[in-house]
Symmetry: C2
Subunit: 198 residues, 2 copies
DNA sequence: TAAATTTTGTTGCGTACGCAACAAAATATT
DNA sequence: AATATTTTGTTGCGTACGCAACAAAATTTA
């Protein structure tokens, strides 16, 4: 931790629930790691309706893609959904070899790359779901991914139906309807958030 | 170029049209930059139908996300769509400080980060399109993105209708139908691949 | 523990869009 | 330039799913 603050020039920033951590249209020269609280990235469609693009939980990263493209303006707003604490890292410090050639520095760089790669993989996984043609297949792809991650055919979903519907880009009612049918067809079993793939 | 081959331990690899550059289920410890030719990443759905996930052109990157997660198996197959030449970089060499502390090394690392971040931004842009509820809005989001990138309200689309339909995840016929309607409604004008946003 | 709020499930209706089939135009191949 | 292949546009049909509205269950707040 000390190393972060000294050679990486990290700083701690607090946000209140509802605050904008990044605003659409702004550029970034820092990225952040969420130490406490949660946030989401949003945009507004043409009709002014809010669309949630991603959810960020404790430990999650903010602005890691944007920061690697100096001058690019953010297409999204990141908003704190609770009071939050964010550890902000100046992007340039990743490369500024520190005087002591400290080991933390190199570690930070590797961590950053891991974070940004994982972000990409997450996006890929979501696209995998979104590309499926039917609600049923979207659900199955999502559940299978979770199942593989948890290495078990039974697992507890970390999100509720509303969020799941938004993630898969389907109507919540259509999601519920299809879940029922899938249970009926013996494809899956579930009770509340405890799911089982059969 | 010499520096790439010496300190980054890059190597040139040729693939014939149809060859697999990365196979689904395999792990990776190298990433590649496409020097010649083109490729696409694909997967097969449950019914065995091929789904194109991304297109890679000359200068594009292959396996940059996967390589940053040691041990993770590839969810996709990358297939050469023409004869190709790929410059392969061992991931670990990115961090192995070379004896001369050469400048290229650091540059390569920064380039890699730029590539991987851009990849993420591309995925984001596609998700932006996919999340739109109607075919018309999907098209508008896509065209607007291209328009912004080219900094002009008139531009030539780099892809044909089939590819565009796949990218937006809509039926090709539905895409054509809606393009006609949008032209009729005075939203856009186009002739073949020359588009104009009105 | 009662009241309020959020989450989940259900169902009828209407339509946007997937699908199939065909025609015309553009491009490639011989 | 004649043939074959690919790309684009068009249209009718059927249905999967968006939408709205309501009820029940679960969770939170007072």
């Amino acid at each position: 931790m000390d190393a972060f603050f000294s050679c990486a020039k990290a700083r701690r920033v607090n946000f209140k629930k509802g605050d904008f951590i990044i605003e659409a249209g702004a550029t970034a020269n820092e990225f952040g790691i969420l130490l406490e609280g949660s946030a989401h990235s949003i945009k507004w469609d043409a009709s002014g309706k809010q669309i949630i693009i991603t959810m960020v939980e404790k430990g999650g990263a903010i602005g890691v893609l944007l920061v690697a493209s100096p001058g690019r303006v953010s297409p999204l707003t990141v908003q704190a959904t609770t009071d939050t604490t964010v550890l902000m890292f100046p992007f340039n410090q990743l490369f500024a070899g520190c005087e002591k050639k400290c080991h933390h520095h190199e570690q930070l760089l590797q961590d950053y790359i891991k974070i940004i790669a994982d972000k990409g993989i997450e996006l890929h996984e979501r696209i995998n779901c979104l590309l499926e043609p039917t609600v049923r297949k979207k659900i199955m792809t999502y559940l299978t991914t979770i199942s593989n991650e948890k290495n078990s055919r039974t697992f507890i979903l970390p999100i509720n139906r509303n969020i799941m519907a938004e993630y898969l880009n389907v109507e919540r009612s259509a999601l519920s309807r299809e879940l029922s049918r899938m249970k009926n067809d013996g494809l899956i079993d579930y009770c509340k958030n405890r799911f089982k793939i059969l």
